[in-house]
């Protein structure tokens, strides 16, 4: 049990920024003093949209847990799929976050706060982060291209240019140590990320990022994240400490493995309550749980023939919660029990799955 709780603590969502209440200067305000977020986007002296400000991501997104949520099984390269399965079995013990290292690149856009500081020749993105404040990106906008040869780094090398009102940032030169999501999808040093930033109005930033890594996925993946200005807000310091103490509590899972045939028996749709469903699909040697309508997604690693432990934080299920499959006396799967910290739920099986990975 303690393993699960520590894993949950590790992935805990931070308190929102709590610095002193100070009104951010330069924000258009309504007569009542509230920020007018639909005012026109500000512009720099050169006439470009000024992206500067503190921005909040959409917070919940399936892509923080599973960047490959929309991919077909054959769109993940076999070697990457094998590494992914190993990460799932280890229950995050070998994740960068468990070692105070940078989080998945999409995560910084999807959750949490980031300050953009735009100057004529460079733009900085200072991420509040959840486990590590030392994730500050420099984007060169002075016309340079990407260097031909780059030392692989955690954050890569970023250059940006304007396409009309949109700042387009290309990043390459990554090492292959970061994960792309918290379930554990890896990437190679060939990863190239294109980000598009468009400040629609004062309070809204339309953002999308495309991850292209043909050694990992057969096609590029595009993730959208619409950001909202966090007015009168400040970033908090988040420093990752005592990783050695946390890691020692991460058991890395028990290494239990089930055959694809055994896993396949669980795939299907389960009814939690009228209009509330739990869909189980296969993903290599693990299962994926999707809850509707909440949209929660969890990667499930087997711990025994019938008990699985999940990783992924949503509104209904959290990392460390367990899913237990229920069978009748003849061994047929009749339902599942969701042993979640938010409450115990049972679901009866509706049909068998056709969606088998």
């Amino acid at each position: 049990m303690s393993t699960k709780f520590f894993a949950a603590a590790l992935l805990a969502v931070p308190l929102t920024a709590q610095w002193i209440n100070y009104k951010t200067p330069g924000i258009p305000r309504n007569p009542d003093g509230k920020p007018n977020l639909s005012a026109p986007a500000p512009r720099t002296a050169e006439g470009k949209p000024d992206l500067s400000g503190i921005w909040r991501g959409p917070r919940t997104s399936v892509y923080t847990q599973n960047i490959a949520a929309d991919l077909k099984p054959n769109e993940i390269q076999p070697r990457a799929q094998a590494v992914y399965q190993e990460h799932v079995r280890n229950l995050g013990a070998d994740s960068p976050r468990a070692h105070c290292l940078p989080d998945p690149p999409p995560y910084y856009h999807l959750a949490g706060l980031a300050r953009i500081v735009q100057t004529p020749a460079l733009t900085l993105i200072v991420n509040e982060g959840v486990s590590n404040s030392g994730v500050t990106r420099t984007i060169f906008t002075d016309g340079r291209g990407l260097p031909e040869e780059m030392n692989p780094t955690w954050l890569g090398y970023s250059v940006g240019h304007w396409e009309g009102e949109t700042l387009v940032v290309t990043t390459a030169g990554f090492n292959d140590k970061t994960w792309l999501d918290f379930s554990g999808h890896p990437h190679s040093e060939a990863l190239r990320i294109t980000e598009r930033f468009h400040r629609r109005d004062f309070g809204h930033l339309d953002f999308e990022m495309t991850l292209d890594d043909s050694k990992t996925f057969t096609r590029p993946i595009t993730v959208k994240a619409n950001k909202t200005l966090a007015a009168d807000m400040e970033l908090m310091e988040t420093i990752c400490e005592n990783n050695d103490q946390i890691v020692s509590h991460l058991s890395g899972g028990n290494g239990f493995r089930l055959s694809r045939e055994a896993l396949g028996r669980y795939a299907g749709t389960y009814e939690v309550a009228p209009g509330h469903e739990a869909a189980i699909t296969m993903d290599g040697e693990s299962l994926v749980l999707r809850l509707s309508p909440s949209g929660d997604i969890q990667t499930l690693a087997p711990q025994s023939e019938t008990i699985f432990v999940g990783r992924g934080n949503g509104t209904e299920v959290l990392t460390g919660d367990q899913v237990e499959f229920l069978k009748n006396s003849s061994g047929a799967v009749t339902g599942l029990a969701l042993h979640a910290r938010n409450g115990e739920q049972k679901a009866a099986r509706k049909d068998t799955a056709r969606n088998v990975r």
Binding site: I20, E237, I239
Partner: protein, 341 residues
């Protein structure tokens, strides 16, 4: 000797910034493209000097030890005791060894690494290569919060005093050190930094540490920075506390060298970097070394082998046993300092 070697790795000087060369805009240059480092400092649109740029501290190794100008009785006894303990334990429990942020010593180029200043009208950001850490300095007129939550890097506000940016920082936690040597501070620490871009190529900084709970008086350290016109920071992600297991601390008593032997090493050693020379003196039953910025104790490991804040120091004798020089074992290379006759 092994211990000396490992602590050197832990504190190794990073290579200077090595990203691809690309001349940044806004730096005055001659027709041939050479940087005019003594041109007047560039100014921001609001008329203030623009401190933006990548800066490398000069003689940063001297800032490994910041209390050189204090008398022993100006360090409160508890602070002196903690310092002594850290010294004995090779600083294995200090911030950087555990991949934790540097706190107030970031400003003086901790680890001899460069920093990048990005100045905007209401906010000055300083990115430090060391641990890829950043500071936000609010220059929008706000004051310090009255009761800030203690943080590793504190809360900084800045204002212009003529052409000098004066930055006040408070709200530190007490878990970092003032220098790599391990001098402690409390949550009461208040740091004042005065940044003055003397010309295009030079930035003068004065750092004042004021922590009455640990030191009986405030004191000021100068630090000088050179512009790195065509360089940039390289990424510095601290991984896995790799150095910590190698720092075993001192197993037993410090190696004792008789005072009459120590006395033979005292004197002045020639150095191209320090005009009056490097001075070795006897302080009680220990040697101290002054490389121009204050006395640093030398910890003995053998009769002629010592450690100076993690750097190995060996005295060299001629065939007759007379001390003729000193070799310092820096990570990049050994440096030899002949003894002044």
């Amino acid at each position: 000797m092994q211990k000396v070697a490992t602590i050197l790795c832990a504190m190794s000087l990073s290579l200077a910034a090595q990203w691809p060369n690309r001349p940044p805009p806004g730096i005055p240059r001659t027709a041939s493209g050479k940087v005019e480092i003594s041109a007047p400092p560039p100014r921001a649109a609001d008329g203030k000097p623009d401190l933006s740029g990548v800066w490398q501290v000069q003689n940063g190794n001297a800032l490994f030890y910041v209390t050189g100008s204090l008398r022993p009785d100006e360090i409160r006894p508890w602070a002196a005791a903690i310092y002594k303990q850290r010294e004995d334990e090779y600083r294995k429990d200090t911030d950087g060894i555990a991949c934790l942020p540097p706190g107030p010593k970031a400003g003086i180029g901790v680890g001899n690494t460069p920093m990048k200043i990005v100045q905007t009208p209401n906010l000055v950001l300083i990115l430090y290569e060391y641990q890829t850490i950043f500071r936000q300095i609010f220059t929008d007129g706000r004051g310090l919060p009255e009761d800030p939550n203690p943080t590793w890097m504190g809360y900084s506000v800045g204002r212009w005093d003529g052409d000098t940016l004066v930055v006040t920082t408070a709200g530190y936690n007490d878990r970092t050190t003032l220098d790599l040597a391990g001098h402690p501070h409390t949550e009461a620490l208040r740091m004042t930094e005065r940044y003055h871009r003397r010309d295009a190529g030079h930035l003068d900084l004065e750092v004042t540490f004021d922590d009455p709970k640990a030191y009986t008086r405030a004191w000021t350290l100068p630090a000088k920075f050179d512009l790195i016109p065509d360089g940039d920071l390289i990424e510095y992600i601290c991984e896995n506390e790799r150095d910590k297991p190698h720092l075993v601390g001192k197993s037993g008593e410090e190696f004792r060298v008789p005072v009459e032997v120590l006395a033979r090493y005292t004197g002045t050693y020639e150095s191209p970097a320090v005009a009056p020379g490097v001075v070795v003196s006897l302080e009680g039953n220990r040697l101290a070394i002054d490389s121009g910025t204050g006395k640093v104790p030398l910890i003995a490991h053998a009769e002629n082998s010592f450690t100076m804040e993690g750097t190995g120091v060996e005295f060299v004798k001629d065939v007759k046993g007379a001390v003729i020089g000193m070799t310092q074992h820096w990570t990049e290379s050994d440096r030899y300092f002949p003894r002044r006759k």
